[in-house]
């Protein structure tokens, strides 16, 4: 388990083709099967242990312990300000961009601590994509938006390969049919729902292992929301997806596992069905039945 997919082959820089990455993952899998005790742990893509987050003097997360399974959707729910976004931003170290933020504890992806000195946050983020609450396409063409990641990471060797990546990403994001004839028009000219699918396409264009989504549907109407939920369900077979949502119904529809946060603490986590049918903690029950929040 010492081989860290982010660390050795990729940290050095740009030349990480998909080919290399598959090798790395295969290698990890091989070493795992050699050590039987680790199989159980490996079922979880992300493991958080005693995570505390401080913004200056203010503590935003308290001793969070959570396991996130791979190739499935995990939902974070909880009242506003309880630390869902904060925890999400720990996973791809986006909190590094906030000078006052301090993170302690361990967050492991495939058994390797993302906060380790040897991990380059820039490379980490290419492995852990993120979709924000408000669609934020770059002021570039649709094509350039999707090609952004592959370009900066040197994932395509030629124009044809780049075009293939863009096309397959847009197809996976369910946007291809709507934009195939206007790839070279500005991405900001799309509707809100289309923009959100565009940034999802942008995120999956670098074939990340994890996609973090922070309230991806809160700026969208019900139809666009339904499209994104469908999309999340399709992407589940290839990626580990973590989604923050304020909608209990959405959490119930799209996720397999749910984690309930309250006042900076992880109150309860478990299979979505169990959580919604018989929550163990009274606070969870109150929240999902709408008694507070």
């Amino acid at each position: 388990m010492t081989l860290f997919p982010f660390a050795s082959p990729f940290r050095s820089g740009h030349a990480m083709s998909t080919q290399h990455r598959d090798d790395a993952i295969a290698h990890t899998a091989a070493s795992v099967s050699a050590a039987p005790g680790a199989v159980e742990a490996n079922a979880f893509k992300i493991r958080a242990r005693d995570v505390n987050v401080f913004y200056g003097d203010k503590q935003a997360l308290f001793d969070v312990n959570l396991d996130v399974p791979g190739k499935s959707v995990t939902a974070f729910i909880g009242p506003s300000g309880c630390g869902k976004s904060t925890f999400l931003r720990c996973i791809n170290r986006m909190n590094d961009t906030i000078p006052s933020a301090k993170v302690t504890g361990a967050i492991e992806i495939d058994g390797n601590d993302v906060n380790a000195k040897s991990v380059d946050p820039v490379v980490l983020r290419s492995r852990v994509g993120m979709v924000f609450q408000k669609p934020n396409p770059f002021p570039k063409t649709i094509f350039e938006n999707v090609a952004y990641g592959p370009r900066i990471h040197g994932l395509a060797t030629g124009k044809a390969e780049l075009e293939a990546i863009v096309e397959s990403s847009l197809k996976k994001a369910g946007l291809w049919n709507e934009v195939s004839d206007r790839l070279h028009q500005p991405g900001t000219g799309l509707s809100g729902g289309q923009q959100q699918r565009l940034v999802i396409a942008r995120a999956i264009a670098v074939s990340p292992e994890v996609i973090l989504m922070d309230e991806p549907c809160s700026a969208l109407d019900p139809i666009a929301t339904a499209r994104i939920e469908e999309l999340i369900d399709e992407l589940r077979s290839q990626f580990c997806i973590v989604i923050v949502t304020h909608s209990m119904a959405q959490a119930a529809r799209v996720s397999q596992k749910t984690a309930f946060f309250h006042m900076g603490k992880l109150v309860e986590s478990g299979a979505t069905e169990d959580m919604f049918t018989n929550p163990r903690d009274s606070r969870t029950q109150d929240y999902i039945t709408g008694r507070f929040g």
Partner: protein, 404 residues
């Protein structure tokens, strides 16, 4: 002095009008502000504005144009004793009259006999006129102020929309200020057009635009001796554009990059010290830059180039060496570089504003894709900001006065 006193008095009157307007509104509503259409202070302001603003405007106009009126009245009739003088001398006569009347120093011309009598008569007349003009102005202002108050007060009642009226007054003041700015600009443009028109009456347009010689020493009056004059503007344009170009080469990259450093890389403490320092650079008077160019940069550059030239002379690059040996202090490079330094703070603070206007969500999006800081700046921040960040590069056109 009198006018300032009267302005002060007017301010007091206006304050009294405020109290009166407010009091009247409260009285009309039986003391409860809730029954009024607007807050009580709006009624006060309404009365104060009517009582103060028109009269103040009148006083200010009087301050600006009162002197003209006095002149015109004084010179309406010219005494027979000075009819023999040239027009220039008559002007001197009248300005002496006014100087003596107001107790200031007159010119050294002495007036005797009839001229002396006429002079003294005019001095007395000037004092009289000045008194009449001033006091009638004060009286008029007083009447206007009183009239304004009497106009405003009766209108005040519970239904009166004082809030909207005050809003109208504020809009009026704002419009007046912007009109003043526009009129000033218009005046400058018109006077330029007028002077150029007169200039092109004596110098053919084509000579000006295409001529390559500039030596404007010509005879302004018949008794002066001077050359024929040449007004070819090409050397001026070429020089200005060359200096502008060099200044841009210095200011655009340095300004833009320092703005990028300040807004994207520097931490808050550093930013809050460096930014004011840069802005101080913008406050240095252009003359100082001129001295800096003439006394420091010029000799430095010349010494440097001459030294390089001395090495090259006699070698394979002899021609360049000879040229560098002859370089002077006043070369365009010096002017351009110093002007570029002068423009750095402008370019920098403008670019800084533009870069800061790029939403943080775009940066987050780029970082979340695994882009580094400089990739984010180059590929997302600058393209988002750039349509606006070219103008700073054109700024050198605005400051051609810095040529040493």
């Amino acid at each position: 002095m009198l006018t300032w006193l009267s302005l002060l008095f007017l301010a007091l009157f206006s304050a009294a009008a405020f109290m009166a307007g407010r009091g009247r509104a409260l009285k009309a509503s039986g003391g409860s502000a809730a029954r009024l259409h607007s807050l009580p202070n709006y009624y006060g302001s309404y009365a104060a504005l009517w009582a103060g603003a028109p009269a103040a405007l009148l006083l200010l106009l009087g301050m600006m144009f009162g002197g003209r009126v006095e002149d015109a009245l004084l010179q309406r009739e010219r005494p027979a004793a000075i009819a023999g003088m040239t027009v220039d001398r008559q002007d001197v006569f009248f300005s002496d009259v006014q100087a003596v009347a107001s107790g200031q120093a007159a010119s050294e011309v002495t007036y005797d006999g009839d001229e002396r009598l006429a002079f003294d008569a005019k001095v007395a007349e000037s004092r009289r006129i000045s008194g009449i003009v001033r006091y009638s102005l004060l009286a008029a202002a007083g009447l206007v102020a009183l009239g304004g108050l009497l106009l405003a007060l009766p209108r005040i009642g519970t239904e009166f929309r004082a809030r909207n009226r005050v809003e109208g007054w504020i809009a009026g003041v704002l419009i007046a200020c912007s009109v003043a700015a526009v009129l000033t600009t218009l005046g400058i443009v018109l006077s330029l057009v007028w002077e150029s028109w007169r200039f092109f009456q004596s110098v053919p347009v084509l000579d000006f635009l295409l001529g390559t010689e500039w030596s404007p020493q010509i005879a302004m009056r018949a008794d002066q001796v001077a050359g024929a004059g040449a007004f070819g503007a090409v050397p001026l344009f070429v020089g200005t554009f060359l200096i502008m170009f060099i200044a841009m080469l210095v200011a655009a990259p340095v300004g833009l990059y320092s703005a990028i450093y300040l807004s994207e890389y520097a931490n808050r403490g550093l930013r809050s010290t460096i930014k004011p320092l840069l802005e101080i650079l913008a406050g240095v008077p252009t003359v100082v830059y001129g001295f800096f160019a003439a006394l420091t940069v010029g000799p430095l550059f010349r010494a440097g180039f001459n030294a390089i030239g001395a090495q090259l002379v006699g070698g394979p690059l002899d021609g360049i060496g000879q040229y560098l040996m002859q370089v002077q202090n006043q070369m365009a490079l010096v002017a351009g570089v110093v002007m570029g330094i002068m423009l750095i703070p402008f370019v920098s603070s403008l670019s800084d504003d533009i870069i800061n206007a790029v939403p943080q969500s775009l940066r987050d999006g780029s970082y979340a894709m695994g882009a580094t800081k400089s990739e984010t700046i180059k590929r997302v921040v600058l393209p988002a900001a750039l349509p606006g960040s070219w103008p700073p590069c054109c700024w050198p056109c605005r400051a051609p006065s810095a040529r040493p």
